[in-house]
């Protein structure tokens, strides 16, 4: 058994309409690592995340999670390990109250109701929306929806957390709270995002995708400061490490 949490070997994915979304992607995620995935619109970030959970299957190459290859048969095990929060929280919340939504996963794993309640309350407390538990999800504001979607993933106690653009549409304070919250998790994480400043705070390692291929895979501090690379990939050196206009000293957080 491999000691990697996730291992992707030479995966290629072509959408049924012939559009090649991913080409020859290989990477590994070890036990305690957090990886950021960045790239231009349409670079293939979301597609890659969907492949990791077996929502799509690669045309070539293999993926394994916690030592298990991702196949139709192993899906239930794998999905128990990984928690995925979609880009759009609306897609994720389908029950009538926030409580039921967060309780949905644990209940399906046939936990008894006491244990379910414990998990739900804990998850809601972590994201700071315990007071919303009886509200209907579609009546929440954007940021609250985002928090509820993440709680519904946390309550399943996943071994790995996968998030697709988690800070999108949040106001600055909510965004900051989410970032703080994520930085306290001890799970390995994969985060696809355009929010490079967040990445800088959360992930030591970053993979840059361009047109479905890995352009770079390395330390976040190195990659994000590489202006040529970033420009090439339709990205920008994040403000937090851009040169200070006054002292022109490259300051890292």
């Amino acid at each position: 058994m491999s000691h990697y949490q996730i291992e992707a070997n030479n995966i290629t994915f072509i959408y049924p309409d012939g559009h090649q979304a991913l080409k020859d992607i290989s990477f590994t995620l070890s036990q305690r690592e957090s990886i950021g995935i960045i790239g231009a619109n349409g670079a293939g970030k979301s597609t890659l995340l969907l492949l990791l959970l077996g929502i799509l299957f690669p045309n070539e190459g293999t993926i394994s999670v916690g030592g298990l290859p991702v196949t139709k048969k192993t899906l239930p095990h794998i999905r128990e390990k990984i928690g995925l929060a979609f880009q759009n929280p609306d897609d994720q919340l389908f029950m009538t109250t926030v409580y039921d939504d967060v309780a949905f996963g644990p209940r399906n794993y046939k936990l008894n109701e006491d244990e379910v309640e414990k998990r739900v309350v804990q998850a809601l407390e972590i994201v700071g929306i315990l007071h919303l538990k009886t509200r209907a999800p579609y009546k929440l504001s954007g940021g609250e929806k985002r928090a509820a979607a993440i709680a519904s993933v946390l309550s399943m106690h996943p071994d790995i957390l996968i998030l697709d653009e988690p800070t999108n549409a949040l106001d600055p304070k909510s965004r900051r709270r989410l970032i703080n919250l994520l930085s306290t998790f001890n799970h390995p994480k994969i985060i696809a995002t355009h929010d490079l400043d967040m990445l800088f705070n959360l992930c030591e390692r970053t993979i840059i995708l361009k047109d479905g291929q890995i352009m770079a895979d390395g330390l976040t501090t190195d990659l994000l400061a590489d202006e040529t690379l970033m420009t090439l990939c339709n990205l920008e050196v994040p403000l937090s490490i851009q040169n200070c206009s006054t002292c022109t000293y490259k300051h890292m957080l």
Binding site: R79, F86, D91, L93, F94, M95, N108
Partner: protein, 270 residues
Amino acid sequence: MVNIAEALDNIRLLDALGEEKSTVHALHPLAKLFVTLVFLIIVISFSKHEISALLPMVLFPTIIITLADLPVLPLMKRVLIVLPLVIGIGIFNPLLDHRPMVSLGAITLSYGWISFISIMIKCLLTVITSLILIATTGMTNIALALRKLKVPKIFVLQLLLTYRYITVLMEEVILTTTAYALRSSGIKGIHFKHWGSLLGQLLIRTIDRAQRVYTSMCCRGFDGNYNTGTMPTLVAKDYIFMLFWTLFFIITRSFNLPMLLGTILTGVYP
């Protein structure tokens, strides 16, 4: 209905095909709509025990597929999906009608089998031709043709909006059902308890979205009338296209061409 992701791919494929350029794509949508309808009417008007006389009709889809460079396999796949429905009803013919109709050496085919085969061929022809129409014309142009046929504006606008939002909503449905599956440990389908909230949430979101679409239309001067721009006019090649194929279909319908051909070759006099 088929798997939703496949359905979405199918729509996208036909949509993409509809935007390509070819001699067939360049024809007036009305001409294509007309010829397609004549073709369909003629095909289904053949008697239920007819096989050979139907075969020349294959020429139309063959030529159009070739001229328009359409991929054959995906279109055939669609036929295979629709076929079971027709087989379901058609299969009773051979079971119920055993009267012998034709015999070729040792094999005797009953009226039932002949009509079954005939239905299958008709199914193949009608399905392929309907798909060819959309694959060489595209939804917007079909809508233009409908407007030209004096179909009320409201209906055409509604049709286009429905079409437009099908892809958007299907994507949301895929994601929502996936999210459901991800947290429901291998249960297939949606459990009874969750029908209401799952579809209901989707519905509310849909209606909210409809409201926003409407406002955005109003903000751009929408007054209930739908302006799709000017309509190209029918030109000579469109008339030739219509005339040629209509004539060909009528001739095929009036004379059993393969039988004539076969009789000539084998020298049989009736």
